[in-house]
């Protein structure tokens, strides 16, 4: 269980507050207007932003002060998820061997096959399409096998069909790992298609998760304003 205990994170304007818990293994969509602090929330979990007050804990252990590399988290960014000068296999290998050593090629190839990129290991990221790059990055998440997966709109640039495909893949990966997924999105359909719960971020507050169907059946006022 990921617990935000009266967490406050400074933002350019004001602060973002969160005080709730999310169950392990859930799929959570983080929704809200631009600039409300969706990415800030994820960054706070990943350790890229300092938590000013309150406590963040995972499975009963506080991780508020931990460095990013010491958190049980893998994260996919909007871009720059792969080192452009390393082959796909090499990129994936880093998940298994963070010291840069030779990773088990079979495991890497397995992961690639699982995301439909069998045989792509030798390719350079620059030669892949956007969707393929996303898949490769997901394959790496699979190999990293961390209990929390954070997605900071990594598929925003993909077409609807491709995006749906990627979201299905994320679900598959998450199920396989039993991982909690928190995904930032600005598209309510993504949330409906993918998420168990919705966390609404608006007006300086990340609200406690609400089951997805309940959320859309009776959207909060702030969210209705966002939809327009």
């Amino acid at each position: 269980m990921l617990t935000f205990d009266k967490v406050a994170v400074a933002m350019d304007q004001g602060a973002l507050n969160a005080d709730f818990s999310v169950q392990a293994g859930r799929r959570v969509a983080v929704l809200g207007p631009s600039g409300a602090g969706k990415s800030t929330l994820l960054d706070a979990v990943a350790g890229f932003r300092r938590i000013d007050s309150g406590a963040l804990s995972w499975a009963g252990t506080e991780i508020t002060q931990r460095a990013p590399e010491q958190r049980p988290v893998s994260i996919l960014f909007q871009d720059g998820n792969l080192f452009p000068h390393l082959s796909v296999a090499r990129n994936l290998g880093l998940a298994l061997r963070p010291d840069g050593g030779r990773a088990d090629a079979r495991k890497v190839e397995d992961a690639l096959e699982r995301v439909g990129l069998g045989g792509y290991g030798a390719r350079m990221p620059g030669t892949l399409s956007g969707g393929q790059q996303g898949r490769a990055a997901l394959a790496r998440v699979l190999l990293m096998a961390r209990p929390v997966i954070l997605l900071d709109e990594p598929f925003a640039a993909l077409g609807p069909a491709l995006k749906a495909e990627m979201l299905a893949l994320v679900s598959e990966v998450a199920d396989r790992l039993g991982a909690l997924v928190m995904m930032v999105t600005h598209d309510p359909r993504d949330a409906q298609r993918f998420a168990d719960d919705v966390v609404l971020v608006a007006e300086g507050v990340a609200q406690a998760p609400v089951a997805c169907d309940l959320f859309f059946a009776d959207p909060p006022k702030a969210f209705r304003a966002y939809l327009g």
Binding site: A46, F48, P68, I75, H85, L94, G100
Partner: protein, 505 residues
């Protein structure tokens, strides 16, 4: 943590190599010496000429860098390499080349004479500035070209699709880049020009063109007033550090986004005006930099045949020194590629080679015979002198790598060594190649501290040039100078090329 301790070690080594020698000289002298009114006059002249030289170098370097960044033409790569040559020329050779073009009997005056126009006199403050621009324009151009190439292509596409006017384009894209690069470039060139001595004197035309370095030379060599020499070199150091601080303060180091490093298609400056400005900038710069080089080559060719085996040996020594200096300098620069590191390193070029030499001599002497250490010490000093240039080139890109991939590194839990080996080094290949080439070429052409450490069996090529001149063998000296030019250029080209090949991924 490991990176941090490397940075601390590198920083301490830097401090020991810059402040240590001055302290040693001060201890030996028993305190500071007296500074005369003439010395203050020298300080003033030094500041004026350095500021003018740096200003003109940066102002002229910008249009050239922009033209080279957005134009593709045959021979462009060769031109970029060749245009770097003046920076790595030994002073005496470069001055001869300049005089062959701008001197009394030079090409320019021959042209003016043919047109019936009055002759141009190169000697004076303008001559000093001209020579310094000749030396440093290539550096300014390369630093700004490097920055231009780091602009992400998205920005150009965006500008193109918005149909920005040239004015808006300048304000939105170029001006922020200038603000980012120019102060640093200005500071580096300013500091280089602070320690100028032979150029300032020869082209300055007389005692009005007295620099601080000349006063140090006088104090060291003629009066043996170590206290005054140390005092003057501290003044020089203080000037350099102030310049560095101001530059750091002025420059904006905000993020400039993820550059893909590949050659970028651009849509700006396609109008007739833009094209002619670019063409003119490239042609003028090429003529200004290459014609004096051509004169050096022309004068040196007959002398090549006169060179003996000891000149070849001297060339070999210089090559060894150059390669050693390069390895040391790059190893030193990587952990220091931060703001503070760069500022400290700036003091290295402002250090008078004479005082540095004397200090190292004093420091080494209790332990070893300094003469046996002539080449290692020369290598060390050359690495130290090149460090600020290496950092100027490396730091922005090192920061970009950290900015672009630092979070990925953290989430992947990469070890320091893996990060260094798999990300840091490969991503920095291009600037490392450039910095390495520059260091190697500089070390090749430097006379440095060798005077105190000279060893008959380990003469370097620049020293050989002076020896030949001192023995009236001007023609052979011109040949040796040409050899030096070729070696420096070859080293520069090899490193720079090595950094660029296959780096466009």
């Amino acid at each position: 943590m490991a990176r941090r301790s490397f940075a601390i070690i590198a920083g301490l080594a830097l401090a020991a190599c810059t402040l240590g020698p001055i302290l040693a000289v001060l201890v030996r002298a028993g305190g500071f010496g007296q500074i005369s009114a003439a010395d203050w006059q020298a300080v003033r002249f030094t500041l004026v000429q350095a500021a003018l030289s740096a200003g003109f170098s940066v102002a002229c370097g910008w249009p050239v860098a922009r033209a080279l960044a957005r134009r593709r033409f045959p021979g462009r790569g060769l031109l970029v390499t060749l245009m770097g040559a003046p920076f790595i020329l030994p002073v005496i050779v470069a001055v001869m080349g300049l005089i062959a073009v701008f001197g009394q009997n030079g090409l320019v005056n021959a042209g003016l004479g043919a047109l019936g126009l009055p002759k141009l006199d190169i000697y004076g403050l303008h001559g000093v500035v001209l020579a310094h621009v000749f030396f440093n324009l290539p550096l300014a151009t390369r630093m700004m070209l490097q920055a231009e190439l780091a602009i992400p292509s998205e920005r150009f596409r965006l500008a193109a699709s918005l149909g920005l006017t040239p004015r808006a384009y300048f304000r939105l894209i170029e001006w922020p880049l200038i603000l980012r690069i120019a102060p640093g470039a200005f500071a580096v060139i300013f500091v280089i020009c602070l320690t100028s001595f032979a150029v300032a004197l020869t082209l300055g035309g007389g005692p009005r063109a007295t620099t601080v370095e000349l006063a140090i030379f006088q104090a060291m060599r003629f009066e043996f007033d170590l206290g005054r020499a140390a005092m003057l070199s501290l003044i020089q150091l203080a000037l350099a550090l102030s310049a560095g601080l101001v530059a750091l303060k002025l420059s904006r180091w905000d993020g400039f986004g993820l550059g893909r490093g590949r050659a970028v298609a651009r849509w700006d400056g396609r109008g007739r005006l833009g094209r002619s400005i670019d063409g003119l900038a490239v042609m003028l710069a090429a003529a200004f930099l290459l014609v004096p080089l051509g004169a050096v080559i022309w004068k040196g060719l007959p002398g090549l045949a006169l060179l003996g085996s000891d000149t070849a040996r001297a060339a070999l020594h210089s090559l060894m020194v150059a390669l050693g200096s390069t390895a040391l300098c790059l190893a030193w620069a990587l952990p220091l590629a931060t703001r503070r590191g760069e500022l400290w390193a700036l003091s290295a070029i402002a250090l008078s080679p004479l005082v540095l030499g004397a200090g190292l001599f004093l420091l080494l002497r209790p332990w070893v015979n300094p003469l046996d250490w002539a080449l290692p010490v020369t290598g060390l000093v050359n690495a130290l002198m090149a460090l600020p240039f290496a950092l100027r080139i490396l730091r922005p890109e090192a920061e970009a790598v950290t900015r672009d991939f630092g979070r990925l590194r953290a989430t992947l839990r990469l070890t320091s060594w893996a990060w260094f080996r798999l990300v840091w080094l490969p991503r920095l290949r291009r600037p490392l190649g450039f910095a390495g080439g520059l260091t190697a070429a500089l070390a090749m052409g430097d006379l440095g501290v060798i005077a105190l450490f000279a060893d008959p069996d380990r003469v370097t090529l620049p020293l050989q040039v002076y020896r030949l001149m001192g023995a009236y063998r001007m023609e052979a000296a011109a040949g040796a100078a040409l050899l030096l030019l070729m070696c420096s250029l070859a080293l520069f080209w090899l490193f720079d090329r090595g950094g660029r090949v296959g780096a466009d991924v």
